[in-house]
């Protein structure tokens, strides 16, 4: 059981069905290759590509606020995924021109630092890309390139302080053990501004839901960056550099960028900003119906609509549900919060209904008043799709 969140979790009823549906909104080609499969350490995930491994969770998984490790999505850009055996004797280097003394930390050194816990959503920047019309090139994700877990490990700031941070430090650079297959492919390197790196909620996770991290979610150590898109959550973390300079990396300067001004953020990543584009950072407010599932037959006497809502950490203040494709909206009931970066569960009891088909939708508002977009904010990477989707059910 998960400490702290236990009571709230126990209250979530389990959903009847497993989603067997490959969304009709995906490109035809994606639909022709996507399959529900069991892969080592994971149960029934939607495979988009096997190499590199890209697997989404079926939508029914989100009927709970905590995503089990064996249903947590998998996302790699580069195919050279390390084996668990290759991580034997793993250590983490902390160096760079803005540390006092470079150190090489063993697992035992990290365990000596005080442990922090954060319950946080990890969501791929391209989650729901495959549902965008017109389609945008990239991994054609469904709703399931996300999950929410209880992460534990030392705060990144304490790890950095082990090496001593100079006051001229500007960014912290990260690298993991997953590597490109060919020399010409840029290694997956990412950076954070000092402010986010020193945030007490930014941690180096050694456990996920009270178990070691699954290999495909970053074993043995993964960076947790609550409120920011998954691209910063470096898996198989091996190297940290504290620098007076901005990181030059394809994955910072070319990929994972959005037009300047399109998605307002609380704290701009200034060192990586240019006149026309900014790195994608903070999540946008979002919500998802996890049950009933598309095509379900539901009871005339009424049924319960459940799902989750989340945002960049302000917290959710309201979720509304529509039964008629967005013409009319009703307030859903919010369950207790298990953390400001976590999913917030909602439910709505429909009451008796006439026979017919119903187009269910949900939309969330954050504590700062942020609302979901009504139409896709078009951007070349197909990021931040938070346009409410539709689940059609039938009352017979």
């Amino acid at each position: 059981m998960i400490a702290g969140a236990g009571a709230v979790l126990a209250a979530s009823p389990s959903m009847a069905g497993e989603s067997t549906r490959i969304p009709a909104e995906l490109p035809d080609g994606t639909r022709s290759i996507a399959r529900f499969v069991n892969l080592p350490g994971k149960r029934r995930m939607l495979r988009l590509t096997g190499r590199p491994p890209n697997y989404a969770a079926p939508v029914n998984v989100f009927s709970d606020v905590i995503t089990p490790n064996d249903r947590f999505f998998v996302r790699y850009h580069l195919d050279n995924v390390p084996s668990a055996a290759a991580m034997d004797g793993w250590s983490l280097s902390v160096s760079g021109d803005a540390v006092e003394r470079p150190v090489q930390l063993k697992l035992s050194d990290l365990l000596d630092l005080s442990t922090h816990q954060v319950v946080s959503v990890c969501q791929c920047a391209g989650n729901r890309r495959g549902l965008i019309d017109p389609h945008v090139a990239g991994v054609q994700w469904t709703d399931g390139a996300m999950g929410c877990a209880v992460w534990r490990g030392p705060a990144l700031k304490d790890v950095l302080n082990a090496a001593g941070v100079k006051k001229e430090a500007q960014e912290v650079w990260f690298e993991g053990a997953d590597k490109p297959l060919m020399d010409g492919t840029p290694p997956f390197r990412k950076s954070l501004p000092m402010e986010k790196a020193m945030d007490p909620d930014t941690i180096v996770a050694l456990t996920m839901n009270n178990a070691p991290l699954p290999l495909l979610n970053g074993y043995p150590a993964r960076l947790i960056v609550p409120g920011w898109t998954g691209t910063y959550w470096m898996k198989h973390l091996t190297s940290i550099e504290v620098s007076t300079q901005k990181l030059n990396s394809f994955w910072m300067q070319t990929a994972y960028r959005v037009p300047a001004g399109l998605f307002p953020v609380d704290k701009p990543f200034r060192s990586q900003t240019n006149e026309t584009t900014v790195p994608i950072t903070e999540l946008v407010v979002n919500a998802l119906i996890a049950g009933p599932l598309e095509g379900d037959e539901v009871e005339r006497s009424g049924f319960t609509i459940t799902g989750v809502a989340w945002d960049r950490g302000a917290g959710i203040s309201r979720v509304e549900v529509s039964l008629d494709g967005g013409a009319n909206w009703r307030d859903a009931l919010l369950a207790g919060s298990v953390g400001r970066y976590a999913y917030r569960r909602f439910s709505l009891q429909t009451g008796a209904l006439r026979p017919g088909s119903y187009r269910l939708m949900c939309r969330a508002v954050s504590q700062t008043g942020e609302k979901q977009a009504e139409r896709m904010k078009v951007n070349p990477g197909g990021y931040h799709n938070n346009v409410p989707g539709v689940v059609t059910v039938v009352v017979s």
């Binding site: 490109p27 022709s32 495979r47 590509t49 195919d79 995924v81 090139a137 020399d183």
Partner: protein
Amino acid sequence: MRRWLAAAVAVLACNTALMCNATLAEEPAALMPGAGADVTGAYCNVCHTSDYIVMNSTFLTGDQWKAEVTKMRKAFGAPMDDATVAEISAYLAANYAVAAKP
């Protein structure tokens, strides 16, 4: 060259027991038959499976496919000469593209 690439992939992909198991069961979907299919299968099945092509169909135009192939070469270091880029782009335009909007 083609055979070398395929062999390199097999060796690298089996570096890890886990991925080896996963990939054995997961041959990429067959590409459409036609002129250029072999070359495309060889060059576009290295850093990722050719499922990346099928997954991104059918919505790109022929020009957008050419831009993708060029990106693989320039940004990701795919070892291809101009003639290979042209051959693969033509194959993708013929088999995985939509007509350009007027």
